[in-house]
Point group: C2
């Protein structure tokens, strides 16, 4: 008995059969005496179809009008799911983003939620209605429709769970939980029963692609109990929460990120302030720098290397080339054929053997480490992309996760 | 220079090419120094597609959820048209029904407009924006989405023109005006330059299918200058207004309605109160009775015949059969193979020759009249459906309209 928020993505409501599958999950939860709020995304390819429709008319439409267009996708989903729940004989009411009280900033197509005015929603729950809410959308202070951008529906669900002080926020996906490594690559990967917010954040940003970071950050901030669970199979998922019970397992997962590119500024003078100049230039261009390495070059010079997402590579190189003279650098080099492989787990910092085990596993497999980065709960290495799947496997084996 | 409301139906925004055609009409009106408010319907078959989607999930969905679903159709249209207008370089903003302030009653799927809160819309016009409004939709007092039912977008446009005290409300369609008869049937039909609200109401209810009665009734009530004009050809349409200049032409048009069925209650006792009983029964079932004829039957009995829309025939017959005993009637008969053919024109009542001319034309063509009905501005006859096209032609010829 409690209040449960359940979120279903676009593939979970892609057709009539799947919509009824969702309706059954929702009504079973309701039958157990819970209040249920359901957050849904647009059906399957709806959003892409709408973007294509817009592109035929205007290659560069205003973001305000794109939001008016895109928000129809979830509105279709909520009404269809409500109709399915009705047909199973349950009381239900659908609500668009504005009806559910999602107030956002005015940053169209990637708005942030400022507040949820949940009076209407609470009234519907009081009437024992199942409430189906359109994810991904809200309105700004001018009552213009806004959308939340990537991972928006996850964020809607967590924000709603936080506002309503829900007992649980279940994120239904086409995987059945969070694994110790990508099960498509590492056959011995195991599903985690629990994971902490911080570990989930590291895994998500490292390319685990189960939950969007925005939603996990919000869940951490408001201490929302999350669960990643399969919409296709009825079995326990992975709980994501603040406090995780101690387990013998130190490493929670091994992840790979291919959306990474290495750039080197070669032949810099060995004097103070150079790194500051470089990263100020890049920050101005909003380039997300990840790992940074400074090394001694030839003849008293030094090199500074860093990684950034592939999509920002060209811009980063352009900015640096334009400043070659003021940086007194010789040239800019770059490498696309790299991957970042990381291990994540709380408490690894106080256990120096962890890094050694990881490096040894790579050394034994003759995989060369180009760069290293560590945080309190993760260790990342940059390696050649061709080695990355093998690296995932040997590291996973080494830690017997 | 003024404020013009322009309404475009579903076929006018069915594809990219047509949307740009509308954008050009709108921006040309704006270029002449006018404030322009555009009301649009859902694209082409969108509404039918959405109804089909719903039917796959629930044969009898709640009307509230149907309204949530159907209202996405116009929301897609407004954003796409706004994007097209943007791409032509004009300032534009789209507004859904609720954003434009359409407050309706709670009669989902056939709501009536109670009020338009036009503050936001007026602000956008003050900023010299072209405003694109979703027709057909609004919200009720609970902020639930409602739709206006058949002819809804025409009604939205006229209501907006009334609220904003617009100088003109142009209804763009795929015909170029109101004709003296259906030009697909009567080749000599002529386009009317002007028509009064009352004449338009009679023509519309008689099956002229150019404007919906609800919108004309509202235009008459608030004295909104309307114009029916082609979205495909740039030429003058037909003005619909209160006062129409006197013309030599007495008859404004000849119309046919095939959605009519004749029902006869046969062998009633010849005593008072029988007609009252019959039409009270029918009124309780909300059956729209049109022409009524009472005639003497055999052996001191009488028959009462009436017409109603085809869709209500079965219900009407059922209701009457259930009351055969209390009505002391012998039996119920019905006939589907009828059409109503009518002539419309203000002032015909003070000119008795009009009816005679009509009846003579039908007699000369050996077309039998089953029933006759007259009002101040129209004369209708019920005839066999197979004769109806010929009747249109010969009546049109007789009046040389």
């Amino acid at each position: 008995m409690g209040l449960i928020v359940q979120k279903f993505g676009g593939t979970s409501v892609a057709n009539t059969e799947r919509i009824f599958n969702v309706a059954r999950i929702v009504t079973q939860t309701y039958d157990k005496g819970n209040n249920v709020v359901v957050v849904v995304s647009a059906q399957g390819d709806t959003t892409d179809d709408l973007i294509e429709k817009a592109a035929q008319i205007n290659k560069n439409p205003s973001k305000r009008e794109m939001d008016v267009l895109l928000s129809t996708g979830e509105q279709i989903s909520i009404s269809l799911l409500a109709m399915a729940i009705e047909s199973l004989g349950y009381p239900v009411v659908s609500m668009t983003g504005w009806q559910a009280g999602f107030l956002t900033d005015s940053n169209h197509m990637s708005s942030r939620i400022r507040k949820i005015k949940d009076e209407r929603l609470l009234k519907e729950l009081d009437k024992k209605n199942i409430v189906v809410v359109a994810g991904f959308q809200g309105i700004n202070r001018y009552e213009d429709i806004t959308t939340l951008g990537r991972g928006g529906s996850d964020t809607s669900a967590v924000a709603l769970a936080a506002a309503l002080k829900a007992d649980l926020c279940q994120i239904y996906t086409d995987v059945d939980g969070v694994y110790t490594a990508d099960p498509r690559i590492v056959k011995t990967a195991k599903k985690l029963e629990e994971i902490s917010f911080d570990e989930m954040l590291e895994l998500a940003s490292l390319g685990a692609q189960v939950l969007h970071n925005r939603s996990v950050e919000m869940a951490k901030k408001y201490n929302v109990n999350m669960e990643v669970v399969s919409s296709l199979e009825d079995k326990p998922g992975t709980k994501v929460k603040e406090a995780v019970k101690m387990e013998k397992m130190l490493i929670k997962g091994v992840a790979r990120d291919n959306d990474v590119c290495r750039i080197a500024v070669v032949g810099l003078p060995d004097k103070p302030g150079i790194a500051f100049k470089i990263f100020t230039l890049l920050a101005k261009e909003k380039i997300n720098v990840d790992i940074i390495l400074q090394s001694i070059g030839r003849e008293g010079t030094k090199d500074i290397s860093f990684t950034c997402p592939c999509g920002q590579k060209d811009r980063a190189i352009e900015v640096l080339n334009n400043s070659l003279d003021s940086l007194e650098a010789q040239k800019i080099e770059s490498d696309d054929n790299v991957s970042k492989v990381s291990i994540v787990g709380a408490g690894m910092q106080s256990n120096p053997g962890v890094a050694a085990t990881m490096f040894e596993a790579l050394y034994d497999s003759r995989i060369n480490i180009q760069m290293i980065s560590t945080s309190e709960i993760k260790i990342s290495v940059l390696i050649e992309r061709k080695d990355s799947e093998r690296a995932l496997q040997v590291i996973h084996d080494a830690f017997q996760v």
